[in-house]
């Protein structure tokens, strides 16, 4: 059991390094472009936020506010989307003994975490320095909720994998859902800016809880009225276990 697990970890590590080396490898600076792409996306979001007028409470510096909402969302989104797209692209790796579809999926998820995690860390430090955001209220809470958003992305990706495997055009439909998700997940607003009448329609979304909790764990000035870490943890574990079971079921019945 432990030997098998360590073998899988070794395979995932090798695949992640390969992904890192080969992503954008047709360009001169290779993987650095992946990081630049994320920075450009964040800058675009910031401009958009300024254009649509800030909905953040006045005590929150705008860049920190945006980073705390956007990076967990994009980590979740890109992990799930990457997992839905990677298998057809890397099918040839399955010709190698010891490489399983799950290894390829987890390597993609790990690469997303490495990319967004590093941007998040550096971005938060820089924004905190320039905007004088202060010391976070709970660093452990921030890290934990961020990691849960990543694992939720894995679970969400695994859960949707059978749908995309059986009906590939579903990926196009999902693109629309992602856009709604971005809007509904509190990247641009805090729930306190929304009339309580509508909270019941929004709080089912665990990613809204993530955005709220991230801001609560950073800013002393903001206490979320709805963010519930147990709800986030329950959704994450539920999606992850359901996704793993579904992936196993579909792998045996619809081999790649």
């Amino acid at each position: 059991m432990i030997e098998s697990l360590s073998s899988h970890l070794r395979v995932v590590k090798a695949l992640t390094v390969r992904e890192m080396e080969s992503s954008n490898s047709s360009y001169v600076y290779g993987y650095a472009w992946a990081l630049v792409e994320v920075c450009i996306s964040m800058a675009a979001l910031l401009v958009l936020k300024i254009l649509i007028h800030a909905l953040s409470p006045p005590a929150m510096p705008p860049v920190l506010f945006l980073l705390l909402g956007a990076v967990p969302w994009f980590t979740f989104h890109n992990t799930a989307l990457g997992m839905l797209q990677i298998l057809p692209q890397r099918r040839k790796l399955l010709q190698l003994p010891h490489v399983t579809p799950l290894d390829i999926l987890f390597s993609k998820a790990t690469l997303v975490l490495c990319t967004y995690g590093s941007i998040f860390f550096v971005g938060l430090l820089a924004a905190d320095y320039f905007e004088i955001g202060g010391v976070p209220r709970s660093t452990a809470g921030l890290v934990l909720i961020y990691l849960l958003s990543w694992i939720m992305g894995i679970g969400f990706g695994l859960s949707l994998l059978p749908l995309v495997r059986i009906y590939p055009p579903a990926l196009k439909l999902l693109a629309v859902i992602w856009r709604f998700g971005l809007i509904l997940s509190g990247v641009y607003f805090t729930i306190s800016k929304i009339p309580p009448l509508y909270w019941g329609y929004l709080t089912w979304n665990p990613m809204l809880h993530v955005s709220e909790l991230m801001r609560t764990y950073w800013f002393y000035s903001y206490q979320t009225p709805i963010g519930n870490p147990y709800y986030v943890a329950s959704c994450t574990i539920g999606l992850f276990v359901f996704g793993l079971l579904l992936e196993r079921y579909i792998r045996l019945r619809f081999p790649l």
Binding site: S7, R10, V11, K13, A14, L15, V17, R18, E21, S22, S25, S26, K92, L93, L94, Q95, L96, P97, H98, V99
Partner: protein, 245 residues
């Protein structure tokens, strides 16, 4: 140290196209054996190799592996054109828990491509990819090396050397060649099976195995299609030329 098939069954295709490829297949690859598996095209040779190395699963029965097994050589689709030759070697080494610059160099030297180590694979001459795929399979120390179709699937200049490399593999390593090219097999293997209707029939002499294969193809003594076997499936011309009948 071996790979053992116990009552293995394999169904290929789906729905109305599904058919049983192997049924109750029992087979064992011991370390140090050199096995050739001859069979008609689409008889299941490649599937058998995939089952041996574990990239395909059996639908019934069990396959026990206590040896490290290579992928079917010279498969090299997993190599990345945008990465250098060295990066490709390192990837495979990391995958199997090996990591040393010396091994990278040794792999490249084995097939005389050291000068391309730091060149992107896509920018290298075509033979570099073929040789690299071959070198990775035979040079990383797998207990069992599998070959699909050819032992020497490299450029002409290196063909003879590649056969010598395979011949010179340590005596405790096993080789399994699934092929329709008995010429090469005779040089490398000492045990022959013919794969027919999902069953492996052992032959003590490779000539007998070839004769049996000819009969399966519906060829008579003059290497013409047998008139009595009008319903036989047409056979790939290239295959007929390859096995030299």
């Amino acid at each position: 140290m071996s790979v053992e098939f116990v009552n293995v069954g394999k169904i290929v295709g789906r729905g109305k196209y599904a058919h049983t490829l192997f049924d109750d297949l029992n087979f064992r690859v011991e370390n140090g054996t050199r096995i050739a598996i001859l069979g008609l095209p689409k008889s299941g040779k490649s599937t058998l190799l995939r089952l041996i190395c574990g990239t395909d699963h059996a639908d019934s029965g069990s396959i026990q592996r206590s040896s490290s097994v290579s992928w079917p050589i010279p498969l090299g689709d997993f190599l990345v054109s945008f990465s250098t030759v060295a990066a490709n070697i390192k990837f495979i080494m990391r995958l199997y828990g090996l990591d040393s610059d010396q091994t990278v160099r040794a792999i490249a030297e084995l097939v005389e491509i050291s000068e391309f180590l730091n060149t992107r694979l896509g920018d290298c001459p075509r033979h570099v990819k073929q040789r690299l795929a071959f070198a990775l399979g035979v040079g990383l120390g797998f207990d069992i090396c599998l070959f699909d179709q050819r032992v020497s699937a490299v450029d002409k200049e290196f063909k003879e050397k590649s056969i010598n490399i395979v011949k010179s593999l340590s005596p405790d390593k096993a080789i399994v060649v699934a092929t329709s090219n008995p010429k090469e097999v005779a040089e490398v293997c000492d045990t022959v099976f013919v794969l027919e209707s999902g069953k492996l029939t052992p032959f003590s002499d490779i000539k007998d195995a070839i004769e049996h294969l000819k009969a399966l193809m519906g060829m008579n003594e003059d290497n013409e299609p047998d008139a009595t076997d009008a319903g036989a499936e047409p056979v790939d011309e290239e295959f007929v030329l390859e096995i030299g009948i």
